[in-house]
Symmetry: C2
Subunit: 165 residues, 2 copies
């Protein structure tokens, strides 16, 4: 296809005209960064809310629930966080054991249970907001508002690719 002679570089799988073009070393570096950033986020995020013995995964659940007074079904949480049911169940068990959440029957669907914050959970979530905001501010100190938006958009695209690959 397209024009003359043999390419100088060895063939790369899925090489397209512009989009879909992937250099191995660039991709490799990109996913290494993703890996490192994720581990750093969990490690230092957990440290910031260490006084409560919470983790980033737990605060992700609490944050999702705090925005929805009615609560969320397990199915909704799975789709929101993109976790396996078995994994999420374990996280919810730990949160329930500390009385931060409760599982109540969905009046509209007997199969479903609504997960929602308990009063204690709301108090803890409110108290954790401060160290979380401080963590966010520190972690994003090197990025301006426009860059944060850009990073969000690029990770959205990456997520799309990672879901279908």
């Amino acid at each position: 296809m397209q024009s003359r002679a043999i390419a100088k570089r060895p063939p790369i799988a899925g090489a397209g005209p512009l989009r879909g073009r992937v250099r191995f070393d660039v991709a490799n570096r990109l996913f290494l960064r993703l890996y490192q950033c994720s581990n750093l986020m969990h490690k230092n995020g957990a440290r910031h809310v260490g006084a409560y013995g919470a983790t980033t995964q737990q605060w992700a659940v609490l944050g999702a629930l705090a925005a929805r007074a009615k609560g969320m079904s397990v199915k909704d949480l799975i789709e929101f966080l993109l976790l396996s049911r078995q994994n999420l169940t374990a996280v919810l068990d730990r949160l329930e054991a500390r009385s931060w959440i409760e599982r109540v029957k969905d009046p509209e669907d007997g199969r479903s249970r609504l997960i929602r914050l308990s009063e204690e959970g709301e108090r803890v979530w409110a108290a954790m907001r401060e160290p979380i905001e401080s963590f966010y501010a520190g972690a994003l100190a090197g990025l301006g508002e426009a860059e944060q938006t850009q990073l969000n958009e690029l990770m959205d695209k990456l997520k799309g690719g990672l879901e279908t690959v």
Copy 2:
């Protein structure tokens, strides 16, 4: 402090003039994306090299070693991958158990051991390159070359923030 009337928005911790300005919901979304992307990468990455029973973490180690014929010390690998020693030791143990790597004494420093690919490890790494390239191509299909570079740079900055927060 600075000027007139009461701010319309509730105060956000660490609000600065331009840099270091962080809106909670933007940051929250950003770290959720990071969380999701990382999980998707591990899940689907492992699936792509499932024929070898390998994981993304393992291929990160193999890839690092493949680029360095002399091998790397554990300390180097820890700094490269940003993992705890205990965690990395376990990954190396699994790789060694399959005879993909070997730990040899560093002739220049008796304390140190050089980790390097075995012959079998080199063969497996060479064979895994293809499914890994296919994974990279699929995952990055939605991003052009410029966007990949941009994403790399933004994640570099994010990593910097996450290391010091």
